[in-house]
Symmetry: C2
Subunit: 350 residues, 2 copies
Amino acid sequence: MEENILVTGGAGFIGTHTVLQLLKQGFKVSIIDNLDNSVEEAIHRLRKLVGPQLSQNVEFHLGDIRNEKDLEKLFSHTKFGAVIHFAGLKAVGESVAHPMRYFDNNLVGSITLYKVMAKYNFVELQLVFSSSATVYGQPDKVPCVENFELMAMNPYGRTKLFLEEIARDLQKADSEWRIILLRYFNPVGAHESGMLGEDPKGIPNNLMPYITQVAVGRLPELNVYGHDYPTHDGSAIRDYIHVMDLADGHVVALEKLLQRKDIGCVAYNLGTGHGTSVLEMVAAFEKASGKKIPIKLCPRRPGDATAVYASTEKAGKELGWKAKYGVDEMCRDQWKWASQNPWGYQPKPK
Amino acid sequence: MEENILVTGGAGFIGTHTVLQLLKQGFKVSIIDNLDNSVEEAIHRLRKLVGPQLSQNVEFHLGDIRNEKDLEKLFSHTKFGAVIHFAGLKAVGESVAHPMRYFDNNLVGSITLYKVMAKYNFVELQLVFSSSATVYGQPDKVPCVENFELMAMNPYGRTKLFLEEIARDLQKADSEWRIILLRYFNPVGAHESGMLGEDPKGIPNNLMPYITQVAVGRLPELNVYGHDYPTHDGSAIRDYIHVMDLADGHVVALEKLLQRKDIGCVAYNLGTGHGTSVLEMVAAFEKASGKKIPIKLCPRRPGDATAVYASTEKAGKELGWKAKYGVDEMCRDQWKWASQNPWGYQPKPK
């Protein structure tokens, strides 16, 4: 297989891990990334990991999907077989404080990408889109099934919800579009080499990068939001998924898209199906790292649900995909990445 | 009062009538319009109507709100006191067939406009936005009250719903934003002079322009969609509102916005509060025009509600606004416009 795949946001956390697996499967990959929330060092690491041979199959283009010209440069000279669209912002708190950034990056960016894709007749309108479990909002029951009613709790969630609806509208109007919406639960972990991982700018928003920065001494303690949820230990329950499982989920989704011409627009959960509480995750990380993580119990955050985890039935049945890794491997690989790269892709600040 | 107001889409149907009333109230107006669904002749007519004196207070800029540079040219040299944002596409059927146009024009256009507004520190973040009764979807009960749950039935409706939610998010994050969302019911009629009116390109989507084109002989008959609704005559019921009432609604909304610094983001219905059936509207138009309108009874269209009309209480109480014109005046002025301009702003095709 020598299909050319365009990966937007391919220098980011999930992007780099997915590109790695795509290259191993024999795909050629063009990455477009504006490096707004990522660094080119991640691409250098990726090249080292796959070796000089496969490295020839990945191109990196510094560019912004909100800029039609940046996209046209790519689409005008490469016949892409599909687009995997990661590019976007993803921090809930930031989206509440700066919603314009989210509407601009996520909505304008995606619509501009789709418009340019549709402009070139020879481009296959095949798309894998990074949706999120955030579209389940505060679900009445768990596990979350793909046909649940969707809702948004904040501007970030609204961009994901709107983009799912936009994708469905596009596909309904033009059956040339074939779209898989992947609803990620909580991606954590890192490549087993410890060379690739999550490197958020500023104070992390999510549990695992936060724990990691406490473990390496960049932050003093972990705030645990909510200790009076109706769960066995009072902390909220989420479905953490190893980023390598997620990356494999993209590869099987892409293969499905390339085979099934009548797929329409379809959503799949990518989660393990198992709920883990915040305190359980902290304990698992302490065990994997041998580090004590000081915690501070804080009030619940508005909009946070008690428990969110995936039904994995549809992805299992239709994609033949299932997460392989458990919490112990997630914490092991997270710690390997963090201990080898305490400042992420950057050198230690002087 | 010499406040400068930017009016996007000011060459369109509701735009021209609103600019007329703004000029009469002493505002200075800059119009930006890409003339995608309007013509510059409308601006010439507007200038004639207000006379040479007031005509000096309106500028027309050919430009596209999706283009930051077009907007920056305006914002960098004029300190606007507010923006009235009409620019957008509005045909339900077209939005189903060509959703990308709607996401691009309506979503990308509006987000780009808001982004440029926020970029200039000296710009007042005061906005009157053209929403629509479409956000009530197929309401369970009538009249529609502003605090009803909102929904979308098609891509056009989704753009209006998303843009309402985007406006609320922006205002919540930054109280400098002051936003009035005006939910139009069914705008019809024309300026009493017969010099301004609605001039849709292609086959009209809405009842009144369609009736009008049948009356002047451009179309053979009117399709009436649905004759088995649970209404007194079987046809669907809507709340038609005279475009001059709507224009006045914008003037009072703007004045409210300029006075009340703590207005937040608030929605008002602009309707008469009276439901009129399609067949009643046809009869009223026949009476006003003296023309027979041949009709063809057709099946209901999916997504069309039985009856949609406005609660006018909130606009009455908080804006002191109430529609003055009834169905007879709407039809009288619609006919005056149509009979004087059977081909709209264009000369009769040869």
